[in-house]
Symmetry: C2
């Protein structure tokens, strides 16, 4: 099912203005130095915490591609937050291990690791200010737990069998256990935030969880609706993905003792980063390498989720509609015929959709970096900028 | 499917000590005045709030049975909390109405009403102290939302089609919407508690939700296990039902400005009340009138849930095992043959199980009343005692 796709061109023409998603001012030197991931650059899984491993792999990729500047900056970041991420893993491991199915379902997911991107960003945000203390640690664990809770619920709603290259908790422990495990992690997350003593963050997190729930609802209602529009897509992504990054950055700012304006700047960064992240994720579902993403290609499409590339391509190519209907009509176990997959990818590519989505992602990444400008400069701010840039061509 | 069962005798012999569930000291005058519900006593649904309607129906039952003392006390209670319950309904109605499926699924359940037993008890607890103010109101709405959230999740886990005499939210809006709706109501509940400003109640509610999750998990793991024991049953009921009543009573005490010992007394009352309530609920599933309970008979058994009467009967009658296996082997849509249902009921009755369960319920009800002794006497304390007594023979 791996379908070859020509590598994306770095400098894309700006999409037509009706796209309505481009923040102003993309710094060309930023998009120019984004590395593309070559096959075979995946490093051995190290004994280091998952987040550190992510950093090292990104660094390896940069070196392989001869992008020494970005590699240098990522290397500096590894040193900057390696201890924070190690402390994070210890704290996360400290979640009470419970023998009930619910406890085991939660542990199953948490033990699979993950990119730890949200806690990484939160830790970096604290380091713009006073640093990463116990309260920051509690908040970092909270944001990872919220993220994990949504995965446990999503896998039930989507009836997913694979997650992070392993069987989903629901396939091992059942749907009910996966639902309750998600609930439990939410409760644990709220407790950590409460423990931190930052009540405004507790209120904000409750609001974020509400936002996520309604974004999920919106996505659910638009399942299989080929006419879903961009506005709805961005509403879903804002609520489902960006809201959590926004909260993580605000939380890092609060824990680091930054002022309101600085917290706001970090929140803006988080918002753009979340959109960038999701846009890349959506592209990877169509054009990625399933061995690296840990899930099958076309998963979103098969679940009837219309993501930005598909929405744009359907607008541009009326012939695509029949092909998409064909995919949606397939049974859950039926593989997508290779010719059908290739035909869809070809439409995505030839209509310029893949390139436009990448451009949008780069613009949002640049906007994220731009949002950092008002913050004290230093290695932590630099590292956050690097994350925003490196996230684009991830293949992890 | 309605199977006749001889009315329970009020004065039961104490069950054998191995039952291990009897709290000491049952006041005989209390158990003696418990009314039994005769057919046809159900009053017209009034225009009053659901909770008031419950009170009036209980009052009507008492009058019909010539139990004027209890009727008198229930009438006094109606006056005592009618305004509180009306305010509660207005506040609950104020939950933002959202057009998404998730919002509609939540509204569907909330609009069906319910007994409002938890908010009623919470309001009465506040009235032992300083009274029912806005904070008490927020807490009362919170406890009803938590309860409703668990119903939305339970119905998905149990694949239930009927709730409160109507289609379940999951059958109308889908399982996913019902799950997310439950999540939303939990978030809303936590927000109300946060709004009340009583942070210790927020911490306790998070602990209660965790307790509920693991009780659900335990119940889930024991589905269809005919060898499930009483200890496990009580662990499930403590975590799933009693914990919420306990919290509601503590919350009422806190909002009413009562001291720690008084809050503790109320919590003990809540704990016993919760067990009483669940024990009666479990009996009603086997011997109730489905037209009044709003759900089909034998629902728990068909879902493989071993409740106390069934556990006791299986211990006492080895022949029952095959009959229960027969029920469990039935398809979801297949009705239970009348002869099979009657045979099971006969075993429950002839083994003394129904009577012993009722005795246990009465003992816990008496223990609930006993727990109130240290509290300031007055109409609110009296009303709580009445609730504990009236709950036994409810058929609502």
């Amino acid at each position: 099912m791996k379908v070859a796709i020509s590598p994306p061109v770095v400098d894309q023409p700006t999409p037509e203005p009706t796209l309505g998603i481009s923040p102003p001012g993309v710094a060309p030197e930023i998009t120019a130095e984004i590395p593309k991931i070559a096959a075979g650059t995946q490093s051995e899984v190290s004994g280091l915490p998952a987040g550190v491993d992510l950093l090292e792999r990104l660094e390896g990729i940069c070196v392989d591609q001869g992008l020494s500047s970005l590699a240098h900056r990522l290397g500096a970041m590894t040193g900057l937050v390696a201890a924070d991420l190690a402390a994070f893993e210890v704290e996360l491991d400290g979640l009470p291990s419970r023998p009930e199915k619910v406890g085991r379902a939660a542990s199953h997911l948490l033990d699979l690791g993950g990119k730890r991107l949200r806690p990484l960003c939160l830790a970096l945000a604290t380091r713009i200010g006073d640093g990463f203390d116990q309260k920051g640690l509690d908040l970092a664990v909270a944001v990872e737990l919220v993220h994990s809770a949504t995965l446990l619920h999503d896998d039930v709603v989507d009836l997913s069998d694979q997650r992070r290259g392993s069987a989903t908790a629901r396939t091992i422990y059942g749907n009910a256990a996966s639902i309750f495990a998600g609930d439990w992690l939410l409760v644990e997350a709220l407790r950590r935030v409460r423990k931190s003593g930052y009540l405004e963050l507790l209120d904000q997190l409750l609001a974020v969880i509400e936002e996520m729930i309604f974004a999920e609802s919106l996505q659910l209602e638009n399942r299989g609706r080929l006419s879903m529009d961009r506005r709805t897509y961005f509403k879903v992504v804002e609520g489902k993905t960006a809201s959590v990054f926004r909260w993580a950055m605000t939380a890092g700012g609060v824990a680091g003792g930054l002022d309101r304006d600085q917290q706001q700047a970090l929140a803006t960064y988080g918002d753009h980063l979340g959109i960038t992240f999701q846009a890349v994720d959506d592209l990877l579902d169509l054009t990625g390498d399933s061995a690296k993403t840990g899930k099958a290609l076309f998963t979103d499409l098969r679940e009837g989720k219309m993501t930005l590339p598909m929405i744009l391509a359907l607008e541009r190519r009326s012939e695509l509609r029949d092909l998409v209907e064909e995919v949606l009509a397939l049974g859950a176990e039926e593989p997508i015929p290779g010719s059908l997959g290739r035909a869809i990818i070809e439409h995505l590519r030839e209509s310029g959709t893949v390139d436009d989505c990448l451009t949008m992602a780069r613009e949002r990444s640049a906007a994220a970096v731009e949002a950092l400008q008002g913050l004290p400069s230093g290695p932590a701010r630099q590292a956050l900028a690097t994350v925003a840039e490196a996230i684009i061509d991830r293949d992890l």
